[in-house]
C-alpha cells in the first residue's frame, strides 16, 4: 500500500510547492530569462514537468532549484524552436544558455522577490498598472480576480497588464533592488501601492464586499513579505497600520452594511491578535527613529486600539502624535484629523475654530468628512442650524452608500 502512495505523495508535494513557492520561483526565472512572459511560460512548463516526473522518479533533493533549472532549460529550448520561424534580432537563446544560471540558491534568490516587487511598483508605470501588476505577479491573483475586485472589465485590466509589461521591456526597466541612494523613494512607491490595495479592500462595504476584503488580505500578505525582506521603519509602520485597521473590520459595520463610528463600536469584536501584532510593530518602527507618516498613523491607530472603551482614549497622546505627523507630512486631511483630536482633548470650540480655518483656506471645501466633522462639533455645541447645513453639505459630497445613510440618520436626528 505504502508503495502505491508514493506517486500520490509526489503530486501533493508539487501542489504544496506551487502554493508556497511558485512566486519565488517565478521571480528567479524573470531574473534568469529577462522577461515576464517567458518566465511565466517557463514556470508553467517546470511545474508540468514536475507533475510528470516526480511521481515516477521521486522528488528531487532540492525541489525549488530543480524547478528553476527545468523552467530555464525549457524556456531556452522553446526560444530555440521558435527561432526557426521568427528569427530573433540577437541570439537570445544562446546568450541565455551561455549564462550558467548557477545562482539558483542562497541570497540571490531571496532578493528576487524584492526585485519583483520593486519592478512591479516602478514609478515609470502608472499607479493603476503598478497595482494590477503587483496583484498578478507578486500575489499570483488571476486577471479575472483582480478585475472583479476593482469592479473593472477583465479586458481593460488585461490590457493594462500587457501594456505595463511592454513598458518594462521597452523602457528597459532593470530587474533589481534599487541602490541605497534611491531606496527611500522607491520604498515609498511600493508602500503606496500596498496601501492603495489595502484601502480598496477596506473602504468597500457594498457590492462584492467579500471579494474586496480579500484585497486587504493580499495587501497585508505583501506587507509581511516586504518587512521580512526589508525591515525599514516605514514598511513596519505600514504593516502595523493595516493590521490595526483590519482589527476593527468586524466592528465597523452593522449587518446591513451601515457604518459604525469608532466611538460606537463593540470593542469586544476587535481582533486582539492583530492589535497585539500591530502595536509591537509600531514600537519597533518608532524605536528605529527613521519612522515617517505610516508609522505615526499606526501609532495613532494603536492608541485607539489600546483604549478599553471610547472615553478612555488618550486624546492628549493622539494630539501630540498628530503634531509630529504634521511636521513630517503636512496635509489638510491630517490637519483636519488633528482638529478633531483637539476637540476631543479640549472641547468642541477650539476644534471647530481649527476646522473653520482649514475650510476658510478652501483646502477641503469638497471633502465630505471635513463638513461632517464640522457638523458633529456644531451639534455637540447645540448649534443645530449650523450642524444641519454642514451635514447637508457633507451629504451632497459623499459617494459611498453607507456614508450617505449615516449622514441621513444624523440629519433625521437633528430634525426631531
Amino acid at each position: 500500500m505504502q508503495h502505491e502512495n508514493v506517486p500520490q505523495r509526489a503530486r501533493e508535494t508539487v501542489d504544496a510547492i506551487y502554493r508556497s513557492h511558485s512566486r519565488h520561483i517565478f521571480a528567479t526565472l524573470i531574473r534568469l530569462l529577462g522577461d515576464f512572459d517567458v518566465a511565466e511560460e517557463a514556470l508553467h512548463d517546470a511545474f508540468r514537468a514536475a507533475l510528470e516526473q516526480w511521481p515516477r522518479d521521486g522528488v528531487p533533493a532540492k525541489p525549488q532549484a530543480w524547478l528553476v533549472s527545468t523552467g530555464r532549460f525549457k524556456a531556452i529550448d522553446g526560444i530555440r524552436r521558435r527561432a526557426r520561424f521568427e528569427p530573433l534580432p540577437d541570439d537570445l537563446a544562446e546568450r541565455l544558455a551561455a549564462d550558467s544560471g548557477d545562482e539558483l540558491d542562497g541570497e540571490g534568490v531571496e532578493d528576487d522577490r524584492l526585485r519583483l516587487i520593486f519592478t512591479c511598483c516602478h514609478p515609470a508605470l502608472s499607479p493603476d498598472a503598478q497595482v494590477a501588476l503587483t496583484l498578478r505577479e507578486v500575489c499570483g491573483l488571476t486577471t479575472e480576480e483582480i478585475a472583479r475586485a476593482f469592479l473593472t472589465a477583465a479586458p481593460t485590466l488585461a490590457q493594462r497588464i500587457v501594456r505595463a509589461k511592454a513598458k518594462i521591456r521597452d523602457a528597459r526597466i532593470p530587474y533589481q533592488v534599487p541602490s541605497p541612494a534611491e531606496l527611500p523613494d522607491r520604498v515609498d512607491s511600493v508602500l503606496r501601492v500596498i496601501y492603495l490595495v489595502y484601502n480598496e479592500g477596506y473602504s468597500a462595504s457594498s457590492g462584492g464586499a467579500l471579494m474586496r476584503s480579500d484585497l486587504s488580505g493580499e495587501a497585508i500578505r505583501v506587507g509581511r513579505l516586504l518587512i521580512e525582506l526589508l525591515p525599514e521603519a516605514e514598511a513596519l509602520g505600514l504593516l502595523a497600520l493595516m493590521l490595526l485597521q483590519e482589527s476593527r473590520r468586524a466592528a465597523r459595520s452593522a449587518p446591513n452594511g451601515d457604518l459604525i463610528l469608532l466611538d460606537d463600536q463593540d470593542r469586544s469584536l476587535w481582533n486582539m491578535d492583530y492589535i497585539t501584532e500591530g502595536s509591537a510593530l509600531v514600537e519597533r518602527a518608532l524605536s528605529s527613529r527613521r519612522f515617517g507618516p505610516y508609522a505615526l498613523q499606526a501609532a495613532i491607530a494603536a492608541v485607539h486600539a489600546n483604549a478599553p472603551y471610547a472615553a478612555a482614549t488618550d486624546w492628549a497622546e493622539i494630539t501630540s502624535l498628530y503634531d509630529i505627523l504634521l511636521r513630517t507630512d503636512s496635509s489638510p486631511v491630517i490637519e483636519l484629523n488633528r482638529a478633531v483630536a483637539v476637540a476631543m482633548r479640549d472641547g468642541p470650540l477650539p476644534g471647530l475654530a481649527l476646522i473653520d480655518a482649514i475650510l476658510t483656506r478652501g483646502d477641503l471645501a469638497d471633502y465630505h468628512l471635513a463638513h461632517s466633522a464640522r457638523a458633529d462639533l456644531c451639534r455637540r455645541l447645540g448649534r443645530t442650524k449650523e450642524a444641519r447645513a454642514s451635514y447637508e453639505r457633507a451629504y451632497s459630497l459623499a459617494r459611498q452608500e453607507p456614508e450617505r445613510r449615516f449622514l441621513e440618520r444624523r440629519l433625521c436626528e437633528l430634525r426631531d
Binding site: 508540468r48 521558435r82 526557426r84 498578478r136 488571476t142 486577471t143 479575472e144
Partner: protein, 122 residues
Amino acid sequence: MKYLCLICAETVMEQMTEAAAEQHYEEYAEFTKAIRESGHFLGCNRLQPPDAAITVRVRQGKITTTDGPFVETKEQLGGYYVIEAKDLNEAIQIASRIPGVRIGCVEVRPIAEDERTLRALG
C-alpha cells in the same frame, strides 16, 4: 478558465502560394505540438474559406439560406483553438504565439462556464 481563440486573416491557406501555405502549416504543427505538451490545448479546427459557408435562418417556420458568412468583412474566420489558461493574460500570451496572429489577428473570448450554461449544455 477556458478560452476560444478565433483566428482571422485576409488571406487563408487556400489563397496562399504553395510555399507560403507549406510554411504556415509547419508553423501550426509546431505551435499545436507545443501547446499540447504544455497542457493548454483543448481543441482546434481549421475552417474552409468563407465561400464554402452558408448561413441558415428560420422565420415563421420556414428555412431561408444565404450564401457566405453572416458577417461580410475583409478578414475571414480561418480557424480556432480552444485552450485552457490560468487567466486572460495567459490566454493572450498563448494567442500571441498562434502563427496566424502575425498576418491577421486573434480574438480571445472566455468560454461561459456559469452553472446555467453548463446545465443547459449538459
